[in-house]
Amino acid sequence: MNRFANRALAAAAAALLLAPAPLLAQAKDWKEIPTPPLKSFSIAKPKRVALPNGMVVLLMEDHELPLVNAFALVKAGRRDDPAAKTGLGAIAGEVWRTGGTKSKTGDELDDFLEARAAKVESGIGTTTASLSLSCLKGDFDAVLAVFDDVLRNPEFREEKIPLAKNQLNTSIARRNDEPMQIAAREATKLGYGPDSPYARVPEYATVAAVTREDLLAWHKRNVHPDRIVMGVTGDFDAKEMETKLRKLFGTWPKGPAAAPAPAPYRKEPKPGVFLVEKDDVNQSSIRLVHLGIEKKDPDYFPLEVMNEIFGGGFSSRLFSRVRSDKGLAYAVFGGVGNGWDYPGLFNVFLGTKSATTATGIDALMKEIKGLLEAPPTEEELKKAKDTILNSFVFRFDSKAKILREQAENEFFGFPADFLQKYRSEIEKVTAADVQRVAKKHVRPQDLAILVVGKSADFDRPLSSFGPVTTLDITIPPPPGEKKAATTDATKAAGRVLFSKAALAIGPAEKVAAVKDLTTKGKATVKTPQGEMELGITTQAVFPDRLRSEIQTPMGGMNQVLAPAGAFIASPMGNQDLPGSMRDEMLKQLQRSPVFLAQKANDPKLSVSAAGKEKVGEIEAQILDIAYEKLEVKWFVDPATGRLLRTSHSGTGPAGPATVITDYADFRPVDGLTLPFLHEVSQNGQKAQTLKVEEIRLNTGFDPKSFEKPAPKPAS
């Protein structure tokens, strides 16, 4: 392969270079530059070995570097997960390797492989699971033995399963952090139907349901030679490799005949307009989606050209028109997607600032309809075909790439010459073809329009596109947080207890008369560095204003909830708080026992007796209380009605946190009896102690104190 193996030739060439070379003519304009023909290049063909047990192996020699790389593709994918155990495939794909084999733990394999700078790794995707190998050629026999061991004898040791589950749970906890990620996920659900295995995502409950037995069964069901295509590329002799692999895998018995049922998806389109409300963004993530095609569809080739014209690179309609239109988009792309053996999605994405959401959707719909209304211009067609055909050489610029492509063709039953066919088919595509396939495969009437964003800031209401369905993306809590059962009896008992607790706070008229409540005190807060004392004055103005003034050793700040929104004001400036924080502050306000006591006759309040629990020395009775979005537990002394403790769940960034507040030091305040000591703990750890110095009722409030201070003038 090395053209300069001959040193003499190299020396001569070097000598030539040292002599001053006459300058060539430079082109003035790029269009003047000639393009010599690309030299013809035959795409290397791998050697195909079909074993009697159905396993197919493709071998590709590559002697450039002393390496060997191999992979085994297995017919098992995430789409095969049972609904109640969504995530099983992902966990299997991970623990297949990390869980070790019958004879070696995962750690022992790690030590063995890393000492040789070799890798054997497992993985899984929608349709395919894989095991891969990479090593220096001299280690191949040893590493192949490990590869084979993991392939056929995995142990899925229990000790590695929590780690895999933790990673999946972490991704669940974070799946609503990024608007683009939310949009992609929800659009997939809209395209395939939310119950389709192509759209379902793992939940805490489905992950928890996966057992080691499930993983072993997964392997037993799927990993058989007749479900595997293997590829090997590197510095070896193909004949010797064939002998080696026939010997190793030839006696592996075929699997049972059962073919897995195809994964279902909804075939009828469900057009409509869908919104995910997200308050803490100033940009909208927009997706337009309906079903696409399978790769075997003969329209695949003209659609490749159409996709390039519509949403490919710099010259595409989406990029040059929708994006370049001043400030309309920071990202835009789209096209008719294809799956190897299942339909892809026609999927268009636009990211734009909130104030151009509707304008952006208009622009997208214009381009989508434009595909149907007229064929592309000859210039557009030429540019698109040139782009595809001129870059075609990069599809086979390495042996490994060629082998991978051939292996996938083999795996999904496509002809071996699909790569060559691709080229000639693209060359044939006409402008009329592009319009024809657009009319068939781009169907504006079938589109689901999804926006993830802050609807209050949209330039036009989303309803101008049609009736809007708001999607709830709340992450279902982990299993085990079972609420006590609610029956008529528990509700009735709850009402009685609730009345008693409300009365213990104060007589009904006095409780009802409270419009606002101001608490002043000192909080001692635990931080990892020790305790910190803060001065806090909190004013709650029912039903929807809350203002906390906090004095810290480093200075003061105000945290404010007002109908217009929530914000923090400090000497450093104002900061709007995200919607999730605003919701938390509203719940904090609503958790005030005085507030809830006022709601005794409000139909939005539901209470239910939920058992007993010891608080200190007292056997307290538990009330499950719900009001609007709030859920809280009250622990009431049955003898006095005194509220001893409240408990609620927050969903923190690290997962659910149980916050418990214990009350003590009850004193009279204007006819009510209120606690002057609050001890707060989170997940069992002491978090803060609040010593109340003063409580005042109905002082009134200055509306300005709930408005953002004016920003400093720009200097």
């Binding site: 090395n2 300069f4 193996a5 040193r7 190299a10 070097a14 270079l17 070379a21 300058l23 060539l24 430079q26 790029w30 000639p34 393009t35 690309l38 290049f41 450039e64 570097l65 002393p66 750690d107 790690d110 890393e114 000492a115 700078a117 070799a118 050629k137 001299g138 280690d139 780690l163 990673q167 749970n169 972490t170 710099f314 010259s315 370049s324 540019k383 040139d386 782009t387 870059s391 075609f392 050489v393 990069f394 610029d397 390495s398 807060v525 990892p528 803060l534 906390s548 810290t552 945290q559 450093m572 900061q575 999730s580 924080m581 904090q588 927050g650 690290a654 997962g655 946190a657 916050v659």
Partner: protein
């Protein structure tokens, strides 16, 4: 076709490494395939022949990054990188003569508007508004003469792939790949963008960069933490400044500033051009000379003089935020040119690489305090004295304090116990194997060869650096660990989760600096 007689024995892999001179894996074979030349104007050119497929890749390394920026003009290096895609006097314009005048008008209008709005005394609000309108009108006029994205379109249509660039503290890089029959077109385009760049759509692009800053730094808790962390860890050296630029600098710099930066630093003596693929040096070099020889000779820019003084007190940055906790610490270490550089690479690999690494086994597998953890030298760059960084992401329910304790335990092990022979050998084997793995890809090779040429003045350092790593001893590791992993040399950064509902206990999203002395 070369055939190896298959060696046997336990250290098979290393024997093969020692043996082959005919295969493509070592310095000897690259000596035969790499041609190096310095043009009259000072540009260093490397051509590496790799005729695997009829394609080639290139990399342009410019020896200037965020560090070169002046105080008050951070973000310029990155800004110019954006400008380098806007075309030339011939590409991206409908009529350059007219556009040139229009752009001069835009700049004059901006400078007038900027001068008025910055007046501390006697600012006339109406005048500011009028001047702002005049500037916006001038931009609208100039925009009419632009052909958007023409540079990228030409490359796309010619079959180019992977068009991209990056700016770091140490350098700026431009790269893409082309079919082999597009060599002259590539030379025309790549030399053109540095010969006659045009600062069109400058202020619009500046807005895009400000949006990028907002997305990547301002709305990312880890991004904010790292920005504050670097500003604390480095007191004098420009590594303390963000490459994207401080927001106020971004809002303030002008096209004139960017052009000045470009003229000073984008000079051929400060650049290395590397081409790898199906190219013959004898054919390619004349084409490169024709097109890149046009870049005017200019003096090599002065190197910066500021050196970071030794850190004498431990520092800590605490960011309180509703997001996930996160922990990192950085220790000052010397630059890439220091004789111990290889020792730091060994320590980094030992701490981070894979499931057998010290941090994975200690923090993730055994103590189960972290979801992931890593440690590596060369943060944020390595041309100048930099940091060895160690970080960990606590598992749900675990704290930064627990991660910190586990990290310190691993560091103490390195200081007090020799690493085992097996571990050291593993690191060395991995380094050699990873080098081999990097040689089978045109774009990667262009990056590596050009990068080492730019950093050390000799592409051969790519191979020699592995030789140096091979000589690192257990004693070296302990000595170096004891030198740098000490409290006064340490800066800590952490994100502490703010619980949403316990009475608002700590100032939320604002960063809080606590300097301990």
């Amino acid at each position: 076709m070369l055939k190896f007689r298959r060696p046997t024995g336990p250290l098979v892999a290393l024997l093969v490494l020692a043996a082959g001179s005919a295969s493509a894996q070592d310095l000897a074979s690259f000596e035969k395939r790499v041609t190096s030349k310095t043009l009259d104007n000072g540009l260093t050119v490397l051509v590496c022949e790799r005729p695997v497929a009829p394609v080639f890749s290139f990399f342009t390394h410019v020896n200037a990054g965020g560090v070169q920026e002046q105080v008050g003009q951070t973000g310029l290096a990155h800004m110019f990188e954006h400008m380098a895609f806007k075309g030339t006097d011939r590409i991206g314009t409908k009529d350059f003569e007219a556009e040139k005048k229009a752009l001069a008008k835009v700049e004059a209008a901006f400078l007038a508007y900027d001068a008025e709005r910055r007046k501390a005394a006697g600012r006339d609000a109406k005048k500011v508004a009028d001047l702002e309108k005049a500037w916006k009108d001038a931009m609208a006029e100039a925009d009419k003469l632009v052909v958007s994205n023409e540079f990228g379109q030409i490359i796309d249509q010619a079959g180019g792939e992977g068009l991209n660039a990056f700016t770091s503290w140490d350098e700026t890089g431009y790269f893409f790949s082309m079919p082999a029959n597009r060599l002259e077109l590539w030379a025309y385009l790549e030399s053109g963008r540095f010969l006659t760049p045009v600062f069109r759509e400058f202020y619009k692009e500046r807005d895009v960069v400000m949006e990028e800053r907002r997305m990547r730094t301002d709305s990312s808790p880890v991004g904010r933490l790292i920005e504050q962390f670097l500003a604390a860890a480095f007191t004098a050296h420009p590594y303390r400044r963000p490459v994207v630029g401080w927001a106020s600098d971004l809002a303030a710099f002008t096209a004139t500033d960017a052009e000045r930066f470009f003229k000073t630093y984008y000079v051929p003596s400060n650049m290395v051009l590397t081409v790898v693929g199906d190219v013959k040096a004898s054919e390619v070099m004349p084409v490169i000379e024709t097109y890149f020889g046009r870049l005017p000779k200019a003096p090599k820019p002065e190197e910066i003089r500021t050196e970071e003084p030794p850190q004498i007190a431990e520092k800590e940055i605490v960011l309180v935020d509703p997001s996930q906790p996160f922990y990192l610490e950085g220790y000052h270490k010397p630059s890439a040119y220091h004789p111990d550089d290889a020792v730091y690479d060994v320590i980094g690999d030992l701490m981070t690489s894979g499931r057998t690494s010290r941090l994975f086994r200690g923090l993730v597998r055994d103590k189960k305090v972290a979801a992931y953890a890593g440690g590596f030298p060369g943060f944020p760059g390595d041309k100048y004295p930099n940091l060895f960084l160690v970080f960990g992401v606590p598992l749900p329910g675990k704290t930064n304090a627990e991660v910190k304790d586990a990290v310190r335990a691993e560091i103490e092990r390195l200081k007090n116990e020799d690493v085992t022979d097996a571990e050291l050998q593993m690191v060395k084997t991995r380094a050699k194997a990873n080098l081999i793995r990097r040689l089978g890809d045109n774009q990667g090779l262009a990056n590596q060869l050009g990068g080492f040429q730019a950093r050390y003045g000799d592409w051969r350092e790519l191979f020699r650096s592995i030789d140096r790593l091979d000589k690192v001893t257990k004693a070296d590791i302990r000595r170096v660990a004891n030198e740098i992993f000490v409290p006064k040399n340490r800066t800590v950064g952490r994100i502490e989760t703010k619980a949403a509902d316990a009475a608002p206990a700590q100032p939320a999203p604002a960063a809080k600096e606590e300097k301990k002395s």
